[in-house]
């Protein structure tokens, strides 16, 4: 069916401003992605999947201007021993980055892959994204695969001694960045990936993650405090037998954030946990859209999303668990909750389960509510003043999501950012 005219016009307007980068061994993937976008068209507000989040500013040709943020706290994850990879407005910054070499993994920039005829990333780049286009279309991800101007391919072959940290710096208030990373964790290998920063005024990021049998990947990201920035991110992950993928996302501020996670459990006994905590104020809009497919036996998936909203902020959660025929002994859990600190804020949730196996345990819950009065009274009866007690109860609300972070030091850093957000609003 031909696209509606308005959609076609909008898609063409956006694509006309972009050029396909040099292809090399990724050329075919980029071209295929381009034709996917052209066929699907970019999202419009009439699309069911975009019912709660207006895609206009993510789709329009020019990135809306976003004021730069003046940091008043130490950069995230700064105290950790790590391998730091820096992108400024979506462009790799070699000076600021560490040497891209570490035992147990290899890191190549897309730019380097592009001039090669053969590279392992060819089998991953755009592959999971393309798989993730059904049953729901994700045109912004296809656009990313086609036009990503930078990014890295990380292949993890052993237990890596320190985390790989992506620092995304926003330095130009008109910047429009498209980054695409691919990560392959080989059998039995393990790595922690950290990401932090707003990246650009408008950021389209795609990460494709392939975890082979017995591999483990921990991902913790923080999306920066530049309030006027916009971001559409996609995470595509495929999990092999007995592999583990755990991800946590912190979002503090941001007028528009849409984080999509598309996870496929393809090997038996695999585990996927996707968690997020966001705190928003005023014209904050945050959307978590998750699609988890169980396609193997005895796999576990957990989705834990918590949103604290005040002053007219909006939170969105669209989360789905699909259990395919034969995916017996599936253990699926999904919780999405919002803490509405006033009557002006709203939380829009669409939890979905679709199950074709008969021996599974899947649960889902979604709530919106105010601060727990019982807890508040308990704290105040011990002498804790109302404002401080409210903050503690807010942290208590977020705890289940934060507890998904395994590393206590990383978790402590995340909590300190949440405390900072609360303290600034006293």
């Amino acid at each position: 069916m031909a696209l509606a005219e308005a959609k076609q016009t909008a898609t063409e307007a956006r694509l006309s401003g972009l050029g396909l980068p040099e292809g090399g061994c990724l050329k075919a993937a980029r071209q295929a992605a381009l034709s996917r976008v052209q066929t699907m068209g970019l999202p419009s507000r009439r699309d069911e999947y975009w019912k709660y989040t207006r895609p206009d500013t993510l789709v329009q040709a020019e990135a809306p201007k976003a004021a730069l943020f003046e940091a008043d706290e130490a950069p995230m994850f700064d105290a950790f021993e790590r391998l730091n990879i820096v992108f400024v407005d979506g462009v790799f910054d070699q000076e600021a980055s560490d040497d891209l070499a570490l035992e147990g993994l290899s890191i190549d920039r897309l730019e380097d892959i592009c001039c090669k005829d053969i590279h392992w990333a060819k089998d991953l780049y755009g592959v999971l994204e393309a798989r993730g286009q059904t049953p729901v279309e994700r045109p912004l991800a296809a656009l990313n695969t086609a036009f990503a101007s930078d990014g890295v391919a990380i292949r993890v072959t052993g237990k890596v001694s320190k985390p790989i940290n992506f620092t995304y710096v926003h330095s130009d208030e008109n910047s429009d960045a498209i980054l695409h990373h691919v990560i392959r964790v080989e059998s039995g290998a393990e790595v922690t990936i950290l990401e932090n920063g707003p990246a650009a005024s408008r950021f389209n990021k795609c990460m494709e993650i392939d975890v082979a049998d017995g591999g483990k990947l921990h991902l913790v990201r923080a999306q920066g405090r530049d309030h006027k920035r916009r971001a559409a991110t996609h995470l595509f992950a495929r999990l092999g037998t007995e592999s583990v993928f755990k991800s946590f996302t912190l979002t503090v501020n941001g007028v528009l954030t849409r984080n999509e996670a598309v996870i496929e459990l393809t090997g038996d006994d695999a585990v996927a946990h996707i968690a997020g905590a966001c705190v928003g104020d005023g014209d904050f809009h945050h959307d978590d859209t998750v699609f988890i497919t169980h396609d193997a036996v005895n796999c576990e998936s957990r989705q834990v999303f918590k949103k604290v909203l005040r002053n007219g902020a909006t939170g969105v959660f669209q989360g789905k668990i699909l259990v395919k025929e034969g995916a017996q002994k599936t253990d699926g859990y999904q919780i999405s909750q919002s803490l509405l600190l006033d009557d002006d804020s709203q939380f829009l949730a669409k939890p979905e389960l679709e199950i074709y196996a008969d021996d599974v345990a899947c649960s889902h819950g979604s709530t919106s509510g105010a601060i727990d009065e019982e807890g508040l009274f308990y704290l105040r009866s011990r002498g804790v003043p109302l404002a401080e007690a409210t903050d503690l109860m807010t942290l208590a609300f977020l705890a289940e999501a934060v507890e998904e972070i395994e590393d206590p030091e990383i978790a402590a850093d995340i909590v300190s950012r949440l405390e900072g957000w609360l303290a600034r609003r006293r």
Partner: protein, 252 residues
């Protein structure tokens, strides 16, 4: 210490009178027990004194060392020296027990214009007090009351009491959900805090807690009023004859 005069309280949302003219005086250094059948207003009394929402005082007064407490916020009452050990202590995930204790201790000190306890002084004190209540380091680190057994929760209440050093301690059915050993441990904790400057109001259904925390005065609360006051022997009378006998005698 605590003086309650003609206290009349109704539920805020309902036209239901709970306390109907309650008079009570707790002196410093004394342990007063309040016993009474279900629905007599025991828990309401403890909540109204500690400032929980949902109740409306229609008449009467309550003062702590001469200060009207009914107009104060819960945290102000706490700083004034009021402490309620909850019947059902609340779980607070994500907030470490130690952090909670320190926040509470220092908030009260600040409200009273005292200097905050240093981290090391606080740690020393909390460890010593936790030890006597058989609260281990792990329980101090864990989130407040999360995953605690019934006994652990109640011991944690007493630890808070010990750290906050209140003037008036209200224990709301502290014995509920405890086995004999746990009850003994809690009672020992309470007895260790008995002091000539401190008053206790022990609310309970049963006499058994009063075997371990010996009261000076026992009150029977029924239908929103203190209907009988006596010595420890009154608790035994309840144990032997139930409330029915006493209430019949009062009505007669």
């Amino acid at each position: 210490m605590l003086e309650i005069k003609n206290l009349q309280v109704k539920l805020e949302d309902e036209d239901k009178q709970i306390l109907k003219g309650l008079d009570l005086k707790v002196e410093a250094g004394k342990v007063h027990a309040i016993m009474g059948p279900n629905g007599s207003g025991k828990s309401t009394l403890s909540y109204v004194l500690s400032g929980r929402d949902g109740y409306e005082v229609t008449e009467g007064s309550a003062t702590l060392e001469g200060e009207d407490i009914l107009e104060l916020e819960p945290e102000e009452r706490a700083a004034a020296g009021m402490f309620l050990a909850f019947q059902y202590p609340v779980e607070i995930p994500g907030v470490g027990n130690m952090t909670f204790l320190r926040t509470a201790v220092n908030a009260q000190r600040k409200a009273r214009g005292e200097e905050e306890l240093s981290a090391s002084d606080f740690l020393k004190e909390v460890r010593a007090k936790a030890k006597t209540l058989k609260i281990d380091a792990d329980m101090l680190k864990r989130p407040v009351n999360v995953g605690f057994s019934g006994g652990e929760k109640k011991r944690n209440e007493i630890l808070q009491m010990a750290m906050l050093e209140p003037k008036l301690c209200i224990l709301d059915e502290t014995d509920s959900g405890l086995d004999v050993d746990a009850m003994k441990l809690v009672a020992e904790g309470v007895n260790a805090l008995r002091d000539e400057g401190r008053g206790f109001l022990v609310i309970t259904h049963y006499q058994r807690l009063l075997d371990h925390i010996k009261p000076d005065v026992v009150h029977i609360l029924a239908n929103g009023r203190i209907v009988k006051t006596g010595g420890p022997e009154l608790a035994l009378e309840v144990e032997n004859n139930g409330y029915a006998g006493i209430l019949a005698e009062v009505d007669a």
